[in-house]
Structures are given as C-alpha cells and as structure tokens.
Amino acid sequence: MDDAALDGLIDAGSAIMGITMKPAWRQAVRMHLAISLGHAETVLEADLPDELDPAPVFRA
C-alpha cells in the first residue's frame, strides 16, 4: 500500500473514529499503519477451516 493509499485510510478512518489527526503525527501514524497492515495481510492469508472457532477468552 503506497503512501497516498495509507493517507486516504488515515483521513477517512480517523474521521470516522472521531480522532483529530494533527499534521505532525502523520508520518509516524503512516509508518505504524503500514506495519500493522502488513501483519494484517499475513494473518488474512492464513488458510483456516471455516469451522475453526476464534480463541478469545470466554467461559459460559
């Protein structure tokens, strides 16, 4: 994802989430977003069975 696409996500996402971005933060947020989305891609590429249950913590 290039910088323009990351900036688009930052602009739209921060507005939707109610976070007021300041220009001075952008470079660092962009860097961390790129890292996070890279990890997200690694996770989303996993070939997992449909039936597999997620593993958050819960006991009935």
């Binding site: 996402g13 961390h32 996070s36 249950d53 593993a55 913590v57």
Partner: protein
C-alpha cells in the same frame, strides 16, 4: 540489597537481622541509585517501615519488593506509565498479588516506572523519563516493565512484579540480566491491574535467583474470581521441586524463525544453554511468523479500542510514540482481528502437539542486547527496522498462546546480558523453573551484579 529474597527471609526468620533493618538498607540503596536508574515512580517509605514493624513472618519475611505502576497500590493513582491516569483517584486497595506477597511476609517499598500503557519494549517514558539499564545507563532497561528490570537488575529490590502482554517481563529481564517468569495465561490473577490487551495480558515476577522467582510465584498462585481469565485450579507449588534436576527432560531449541534474525550474542546464549542441557535437538514452531503477526494485530486493535476515548479527548497527553501506534491500530480492518483469533486456535493446537515430543523449548528472549536509549531502529535479519515494534519478535509468538516461560540471563561477549526463553507446556512452570535452576547451579545463567555499587 544484592542478597536474595530467600536469604533475606531466612535471616529475618532466624533473628540475624530484622525487617526494619532490611527496609532501611533497601531504601538507602534506592535513595542512592534511583536518581540514576529512574526505576521508581513512588517510594513508600512510611508504609514499608510500618509493615516492617509488624514483624512479618512467612517464606518472604522482610523481603522488599516493588510493582510496575499499572498494579494497584492503595493510596496511589494507578498510572500505567501515563500522564492521563494521574487524574485518577488513588486506588482504594492493593491488588491481590500485592496482598498475597505481603501475606507471605514481603514488604512493598514502591511503584515502578514503565512504558506508557504497556505498549512498549524500550522502558522509555515521555512523562517520567526512561528507566535505565543497570549495566550501562546509556542503554534501555527494556519494556514495558522497565522499572521492574532496572530495579531488580540494579539490586534496588530483590523482587519486582511486572506485566507481560507480548514480552514485557521477558524483554527487560533479558536487557537487565535478571530472571523473569511469565506464567501460563490465567494462572495469576490480574485483578487490580490496569489492562492493555485482555486477550494477552499476564502478570508475573522478576528476581535475581530462580529460588526467589519460585518463592514469589508460589506465594501468588491461587484462583481469584475477580479476574475472569484466572483459571480455577489449585495452586501448584514449585519451590519444593526446583532441585529435581533435568534428567529425563526432553529439551530442544527452536529453529527456523527463532534463529533467522537473531544477533550473534542471542544465538550464542541459546547455544550455550542448549549445550549445558545437552539439548541437541531442534524443533520448528509452526507458523511462528504468522503467530507474531496475529499477536501484533490483536494487540494494536484491542489497545486502540481500550484507549479510543482518550485518543479522542486527550491525544496530546499521550506519549507520542504510543499514541501514533494506537491511532494506527484504530484503523486496522476488523476481519484481520477475527482471523487473528481464529489463527490463535489453530496455532495453539499445532504447538501443543510439539509437547508430545519435548518438555521444553529454548529460544532467544530478545534479538539483541540492550539498545541505546533513544535508538529508533536496529538490524533484524539483515534489515534496518523500527525498534519499538520489533524487539518482541521472539516473545510474541509464545505469549500469544499463553505458554509459561522463564527468561534466564546469560552473559555475552558484548559485556551485557541477554535472555534465553525456556518455554514449556501450559501449567508446567515447574519444568521451566527446574531447568532454570539447573542452569543457574551450573553457572550458565546468572544475574550479574550491577556495576553501580555507589
């Protein structure tokens, strides 16, 4: 205060010293060294002397300890390393783990510096300043339990509590050259602590000897319904089994991912530990890289959700290094979070099968020795990468599925210590601690004395 916790307790129990004398010496050392190490954010002298005067008894009688400042201490706001939480009302009661340690005779002497909201591997803090490495004060203590590593590594206290979501006990243990225990997920109650990532948060001890680590761990075990994650199972004391040796244990080193990016010092430390244990086998932890990514995604998104209101209302009051990561976390697609939790199920099942064949797995705790304070990048696997997001590359795939780990300190040719993880099956802290004890007895793992003996 370089005496071990168990030695202090024995001296107090026998009448060779008193808890008051121990507290006096401890506070004196804190007063001399903390201005340099910056490990403490609160020193509780009055409380400690009152407690000492009550002539505490138990396996930790008279042992001073301190806690990461995300753990509730009655009368103090629970900072969690933040500026924002300074506005919180003081905690009404001590966290259960403090109460349990004090029931065993220990004496709380203070609260410890940490990376803001525990989203940190450096021990740096924009509000309180960095906790410093006791073996080279120009270097990081590691985080986020930086004050815990610095205080124990510097001999200010023999015992401290930290938290570990992705490595925040094991990283400072590695950088500061102390033993650290991240127990099984759900073993020790987290009640009365400020959260970070509920899916991954653990509390645990750091100490200078394996016996001290075990004594503290034993004192803190036990079910607590106040933490929904705490598992209802009876305590499983380990102190009495530490010296059973490692004969018959099947121990292997983690290959592949866990060797790919490590520095020469990290690899040499793992190899030295493996050689001492005659552990020649290598195992592959399947899809560890993806596990690390999944832990990363769960962390950044749960962290962002936890702090969203504060990001909206008080963004300038965050440590910028933390705020900017949390904002990025708020923008990660939800599908990745759910998939990360699904992958956790798959990965847990796959890794648990390894323990059909081995009892413990060895891996580096950190890819390198302590970096310089302020350093923003380092070389990992031949590439220059941002430091803050990548120091936990070897710890994250392990805590991701809640396995117990003891980090043991090993000396390096660089003159600084580095940690090796001893990873075992869930609820087998006893095996990890037995191995750590054997390494300590053999002189392979040891907490070096701080050069700061002023």
């Amino acid at each position: 205060m370089n005496g071990s916790a168990t030695a202090i307790a024995a001296a107090v129990a026998s009448g060779r010293t008193t808890a008051t004398a121990v507290v006096t010496a401890c506070l004196d050392r804190i007063g001399r060294l903390n201005p340099v190490l910056n490990a403490f954010t609160a020193v509780l002298a009055e409380r400690a002397f009152m407690r000492a005067a009550s002539q505490p008894i138990g396996p930790l009688a008279g042992v001073p300890f301190a806690v990461k400042n995300l753990i509730d201490v009655a009368g103090l706001p629970t900072l969690a390393g933040s500026k924002i939480n300074r506005d919180h009302r003081p905690a009404m009661a001590d966290a259960p783990l403090i109460a349990r340690l004090e029931a065993a005779g220990a004496i709380l002497v203070g609260a410890l510096n940490m990376g803001e909201y525990a989203y940190d591997f450096t021990g740096e803090n924009a509000h309180d300043g960095p906790s410093r490495n006791p073996h080279d004060t120009a270097r990081m203590a590691g985080g986020s339990s930086g004050g815990s590593g610095s205080a124990v590594g510097g001999g200010l206290v023999p015992l401290a509590l930290g938290s570990d979501t992705n490595g925040s006990i094991r990283v400072p243990a590695s950088f500061c050259g102390v033993f650290g225990l991240k127990p099984t997920y759900g073993r020790l109650t987290r009640a009365g602590s400020f959260p970070f990532v509920s899916s991954l948060d653990h509390l645990g001890p750091l100490a200078r000897t394996v016996g001290d680590l075990a004594a503290a761990y034993d004192a803190m075990q036990g079910y607590d319904p106040a933490d929904p994650v705490c598992v209802d199972r009876p305590p499983d004391p380990v102190t009495g089994v530490l010296d059973r040796g490692v004969g018959g244990l099947r121990i292997a080193s983690a290959g592949g991912y866990f060797r790919a990016g490590a520095s020469a010092e990290a690899l040499a430390a793992v190899d030295a530990v493996a050689a001492a244990l005659e552990a020649s086998e290598t195992v592959t932890i399947p899809q560890a890289e993806r596990a690390r990514s999944a832990a990363y995604i769960i962390t950044t998104t749960e962290g962002a959700a936890l702090h969203l209101q504060r990001l909206r209302s008080r963004p300038d009051d965050f440590d910028a290094d933390v705020r900017d990561r949390l904002i990025a976390g708020a923008l990660v697609p939800a599908a990745a979070v759910v998939q990360a939790q699904k992958f956790r199920r798959w990965y847990q099942q796959a890794v648990l099968r390894l323990f059909d064949h081995v009892d413990a797995i060895l891996a580096p705790a950190t890819p390198c020795v302590a970096p310089l304070i302020g350093q923003k990048s380092f070389v990992l696997d031949g590439k220059d990468v941002p430091l803050r997001p990548n120091i936990g590359v070897y710890t994250q795939p392990i805590s991701f599925i809640g396995l117990p780990v003891v980090a043991v300190p090993v000396p390096t040719a660089a003159g600084l210590p580095i940690g090796v993880q001893i990873i075992t099956a869930p609820w087998r802290e006893d095996v990890a601690l037995r191995i750590a004890r054997a390494l300590e007895a053999g002189g392979v793992a040891r907490a070096p004395s701080s050069k700061r003996e002023a």
